[in-house]
């Protein structure tokens, strides 16, 4: 693979990676958000595979493929299953007249009222990306390769993921925010160190998988106990 092609492909993957994060912010439908998250997993896997192919380190390619399977396949599947559990009570063919109960259900699968509205969120994402570029400048200057030049993208996704975590009400949207955060950290690790050892990545992935499993169960339980997954309603538990 020639250097120019490698750089272009890497930049493309990183761009897709960042764009996916921004689209997560833009979407309201939880199902769409999960779909975009899956696409971001593919972009992340592409980054890892590209890095591995460029440096001819096949273990890195294997790690990349593993990441792809986990983040584009397993995790979206788990979240979708949780989503399906939330909407399971709803009849498949919704009648024309929407009852209150069904509106509640449709609200469960939509991020209807984030704490900060969509437009402001997108603007904030732009600002956070700028901040990431500003903060990562000294790191990029240390060793300006195509990989380190893309480093701020990872940081930006970390910040955007954190932002999703802070501003979204639905528990599942928050799970996606947490996973965005983790994707950003993984991308930063790959871009900064040109690949993490297999064992480290394995541990991190396993951790994330477990966290998602636990969160999935918690979400279902929350819905059973409180009738909603809006985590602001947990405020009542405060002493």
């Amino acid at each position: 693979m020639s250097n120019g092609l490698y750089t272009q492909l890497l930049d493309l993957a990183c761009g897709a990676f960042l764009l996916a994060a921004v689209i997560v912010l833009w979407q309201r439908e939880l199902a769409a958000i999960v779909r975009v998250f899956g696409l971001q997993g593919i972009a992340l896997a592409a980054i890892a595979v590209l890095l591995g192919a460029h440096e001819e380190r096949w273990d890195l390619v294997a790690v990349g493929i593993g990441i792809g399977v986990l983040r584009a396949g397993v995790l979206p599947y788990l979240i979708r299953r949780a989503l399906a559990a939330l909407t399971a009570a709803e009849p498949a063919e919704a009648p024309r007249r929407i009852t209150g109960r069904q509106r509640a259900h449709s609200e469960e699968v939509r991020e209807t009222q984030p704490l900060i509205n969509i437009t402001a969120s997108l603007l904030t994402a732009a600002l956070l990306t700028l901040l990431a570029y500003a903060a990562a400048r000294p790191l990029t200057e240390l060793n300006p390769t195509p990989a380190t030049r893309a480093l701020p993208v990872g940081l930006a996704v970390v910040l955007i993921g954190f932002f999703v975590l802070v501003t979204r009400r639905r528990a599942l949207a928050q799970v996606v925010g947490f996973l965005l955060l983790d994707n950003g950290i993984t991308a930063t690790a790959f871009l900064a160190t040109s690949g993490v050892p297999l064992i480290v990545e394995l541990g991190v992935s396993f951790d994330v998988l477990l966290a998602v499993l636990v969160l999935q169960i918690l979400t279902t339980r929350m819905r059973e106990a409180f009738g909603t997954t809006d985590i602001d309603d947990l405020r009542e538990l405060h002493d």
Binding site: L131, A135, R235
Partner: protein, 677 residues
Amino acid sequence: MSVIPAALATATAVGGAGAAAGLVLPQRPRVPVVGVLTAGVGVAGGAAGVAALGGDRWADTLPGVLPLAGTYLAVDALAGLFMAVAGAVVAAVAVYGIGYAGGHGPHGLGSRTAQAVLPLFALTLVLVPVAASVSTFLVLWELMALASLLLVLAEHRERASVRQAGVWYAVMTHLGLVLLLIGLAVFAAEAGGETFAALRAGAHAVSPTVRGLVFVLIAAGFTSKAGAVPLHAWLPRAHPEAPSPVSALMSAAMVNLGIYGLVRTGLDLLGGGPAWWWLGLMTIGGASAVHGILQAAMASDLKRLLAYSTSENMGLVLIGVGASGLFAAYDDRPLAALALAAALLHVVNHAAFKALLFCAAGSVLRATGLRDLDRLGGLRAPMPATAGLFALAALGAVALPPGNGFISEWLLLQSLIHGLQVPGVAVAVVLPLSVALIALSAGIAAAVFVKALGVGFFARPRSRQASAAKESPPLMLAGMGLLAAACGALALVPGLLGDGLDRAVAATGLPGSGAVSGGGLNVRLADISASLSPLWLVAALTAALMLAAGLPRLYRRRRRRANARLWDCGGGPPTPRMAYTATSFAEPLQRVFDDILAPEQDVNVTPVRESTYLVERVRFQRRVPDRIEHRLYEPVLRALAGTGQAARRLAGGSVHLYLGYGFVGLVVLLLALAVGW
């Protein structure tokens, strides 16, 4: 081979064995075995101290004991003095404690925890002066504080007030530790090493501002341990609530270590300092002396009275240490040595009589279950030995001849009076004031101990418990007898301390004063034409007393004695309720110092229903609160509680809010990085 390492190793081994015995042994043999081993710690530690006072020196490093820092140990005469005092007190009180805890059952001082901690506390009391590096010192210091805290809490099952006292003590002692930690860490960083040798060598290169800061911090930490105002609030709480042998150990051995730390760091390691350090120290000392003794005069709880008296005596010692530093700052070294010798001698004397006083108070408490002087009385007949021992110790505490406290206070006054030749306006104001404060506190101390002895032991019993009192078991009397012997020896022949006191003073770099050395029976001051011969003084006093008591008797023998009933104003025979109580005895003093003490009075008059002129019940209540505590602590505590309440608002319960804190923190950090680069 030197005596000191062998004695210290023995003390450590015996202390460890005592702790293990306290943990393992069943209840019956536990108290005697632990008591004997604790006494062994005291004897071994005291022997090391005496050897050091005799001129031995020893230093060693144990690199493996404390990770990273290593353990530095050194014994000189100054450390030896405090080790000897602590060792002697521990040995006598341990003997007393066997008798005290023996009858107490499985709770309180006889419990497994308390008996396991007691030898460790004794060991740390002996070992703190041995430390020769900042980290070693702080570790031992903290161990001592924790051990004493556990012992203070020993009777928490019996009284709820013990827990409150424990909280106060824990907070105050750790506040002191934090101050010491900061002060010594700054000192070590600036001097370029944390061993005492490195500190001593590097102290002169430290800038005056930093030296001043270090001194203020460590002086605050050490005076808090010594129970001086304004950080004294733990002392009148913890000492009364602790079991009596523990009170004796704390009051006679632990508070001394605050003085030790101050002398060690201020005079030795920092090598003295400008006059304002020492004027400040003398102010604190004077305030503690007067405040402590006034509060003691108002107290009707016997052990609280003794605790406040400790605060007073430590105040006197601080005046001595401050005067010593002041004279050294003006380069009058003989006078500085005299003031320090007076202060150290007072530490020794105070340890002897205060340990005995607390033990006697413990005997009273054990016999009657009462600490309230208002309900005691008439204990002389059922407890003659305890009453006699208490009287002997009280004589030492009132600083009148022939008590042992007199000699050190006399030395202190001599040094202050002759210090007027030192130039400076502040000195000219502070020294006469200090003399006046010492005189005032000595006068009130006389009233305090007349009250404690007269109201507590004489007259008629004022409660059922007091009239049912029995004399203490022989082991307790034996322990008190040892302390009484020490009191007597110090009162009659202070020359027994020999050159040890001089060597202790010389360890700080001052010349020896020769105050109690050489003369044997006499106290002779080398640079001041003054001398005192305690033994002759006692002989003369005894002769005069016998004369005063004997002559009228001789004269009266020829007359016949007529017995008649006491005139009772027609109100029936006098009852114990008519006798002076501690409160009524203190009432005139309280009137004199009304403005300072600010007592709170409450009169509730309940009239009979339907008539405002007929009174059904009058309730009168008077409290004399500790004013410093009232003014200084309560606002701070209120502010702290207010801040805590306000901080709860930060935790509103919303998960988004908590996440938001993290997010905003991260963004601000990144912004700072981005802008900063």
